[in-house]
Amino acid sequence: MADYDEESVSELESYDSDDELQSAFNKGELKPGLNYQTRAPKQYTNNTVAIDEKLNSIQSNLDWIERVDITLESKNTNNETDAVTDDDNDDLMHNDFKRELKFYQQAQSAVLVALPRIRKLGILTKRPDDYFAEMAKSDEHMRKVRQKLLGKQLAMERSEKAKKLRELRKYGKQVQREVLQKRQKEKKELLDSVKKFRKGQKDKLEFANRNIEAPSNFKGKPKKISQPQGKPKPNPKRVYKDQKFGLGGSKKRSKSNTADSAANVSDFKSSKHSYGTGPKFNRRNTNKKKNRRHGKIRREKTRVKARR
């Protein structure tokens, strides 16, 4: 940043000349750490003259066919687009697909230029089908490559198939759901209309007009319709609950025992509460002869006796 070499101090602008620096140092204005020397930026050699000379010296005067090189001409030469293309270039080089495509296109255009040129010189470019020679890659290697390609293709096909199946299943489910919903909706509509008809809100059933076959399909309900109409029956579940928990009236003492309830022993079943009676014991008594197996201790005793 601040170099105080003799060369860097110019004559015109000698603000920090050696004398001044020395005087400043004597006054104590200069302190260590205030100024420091930085390394000069590295100079990169680019000796274009020598490079051109070298190029001229090594250039051979052989025919093009000895070299078969193609240099593509640059497509954009104007400077305005350069900035943009630089940015694009950076992106291009970091995108694998784009980069490889670029190389591919370059190779392709070179081929398209070179091959006609070679052919014009009367030289074969394509080898005949019956011309066999050693290849750069062995047959074994190419077999492996083919296998891998095949494997990849198979995997892709399999995944595609699975995907299709999954989609199909999804679609099928959707269709099924739609059908079910439609059926349910129809049923609901029908029931509604029947209800309305029953209540006398409607003069006639709509579905009867709309679809003559509907009553014949709908077997259970018409009987009910034909039943005599009066007050609808209360819900039996409700009735039972009302009976059990009480409906209306004070609930305060209804659940506590009374003299009658305490004396009521009709629920008591002696068979449940006395040992030696009841179904279990009865069964045992009746099946006594069938069960010949003794208790464990007795069995063990007999076993010991038998061994002796």
């Binding site: 078969v68 970091h94 019956d130 050693e134 750069a136």
Partner: protein
């Protein structure tokens, strides 16, 4: 030097033995039917003018990938000659002597360092120029994703990017590349057909190499491999010696790259702590004192030029 000669002789013997033992899986028949008289004619009138021979070899301590790349290049280039691995302590200038012994005027020398970094030298042997590259993103021909295949000794088309026509160092590199990679016409070991393309393209200040097979003549291609990226380091006037003609300003050595990565990793904790402290401080400050500042007050605010950073550098500097 005598020892060196011994080793090269041994290697030559080895090569001869190999040649004897190696038999082509499908040989080119000498006598062919009338269907391919044209090719026969081509084979007969041999006019092998360009006697370029390229020495391809490597230093000791090369990784398997580098070795595979070397072998791929040897296989693709019928005008190449192999040699045994070179001791690193021998010094690079010895390469020129090996070239002389091997009758080669071009060299591709792979130099391995630290068992992980691969450098490639290309040179015109007796009197330059030579260039040193760092090889990055290396994929060999053995990889199964490269689906193409080409004849073993067929001649390639060399395709160069438009930037090879621009800057002088690229032009020089282009010339060297063409002289090294193009198979001489009528070379005895070559096949008389053109069925693959080498592309050299510049991007990201590097040279990208690809090798494609020409599947159909209308321009459909398949990659054969190998593929690699050359990061130019320097161009020298002589062969492995001489004045530096060009130095790549964008080049960063792998050591530097690794060091930077490590440093970044080591600074991560410090940065976090520091930024947290600064944030706390700022919060503390702005908690109770926030008042309007007169923007013109800034005029009286000065700092030491050494402390200036970024844009402030242009405001605070010491007069010379």
């Amino acid at each position: 030097m005598a020892k060196r000669k011994g080793t090269t002789e041994q290697s030559q013997n080895k090569v001869k033995k190999l040649k004897k033992s190696r038999s082509l899986s499908k040989k080119v028949p000498r006598e062919r039917n009338s269907t391919s008289t044209s090719t026969e004619g081509l084979l007969k009138k041999r006019k092998w003018i360009n006697k370029t021979r390229v020495l391809i070899f490597c230093s000791r301590g090369i990784s398997y990938r580098g070795r595979h790349l070397m072998n791929d290049l040897r296989r693709l280039m019928p005008h190449s000659k192999p040699d045994v691995k070179m001791e690193k302590k021998d010094g690079l200038f010895l390469v020129n002597e090996i070239c002389e012994i091997k009758n080669c005027n071009k060299v591709i020398y792979f130099e391995a360092k630290k068992k992980k970094d691969l450098y490639m030298w290309i040179a015109n042997s007796p009197n330059g120029p030579s260039a040193k590259f760092l090889i990055e993103n290396l994929h060999t021909m053995d990889e199964l994703k490269m689906t193409g295949n080409c004849l073993k000794g067929s001649r390639p088309i060399l395709s160069f990017d438009s930037s090879f026509g621009g800057e002088p160092h690229y032009a020089l590199l282009k010339e060297v590349f063409t002289q090294i990679f193009s198979t001489p016409y009528h070379h005895p070991k070559s096949q008389p057909f053109v069925d693959h393309v080498y592309t050299f393209s510049v991007g990201d200040n590097r040279i990208w190499f690809r090798n494609y097979q020409i599947v159909e003549e209308d321009g459909s291609l398949a990659e054969v491999g190998p593929r690699f990226v050359l990061n130019l380091i320097k161009i020298f006037g002589g062969s492995f010696i001489g004045p530096t003609l060009y130095e790549n300003p964008h080049y960063k050595s792998p050591n530097e790259q690794r060091r930077d990565l490590k440093r970044e990793a080591s600074l991560r904790y410090q940065n976090r702590i520091q930024s947290k402290a600064v944030l706390d401080q700022r919060r503390e400050q702005s908690k109770d004192t926030s008042y309007k500042m007169d923007t013109t007050d800034e005029v009286f605010f000065t700092i030491k030029p050494e402390d200036a950073e970024g844009l402030a550098k242009s405001t605070f500097y010491r007069k010379k």
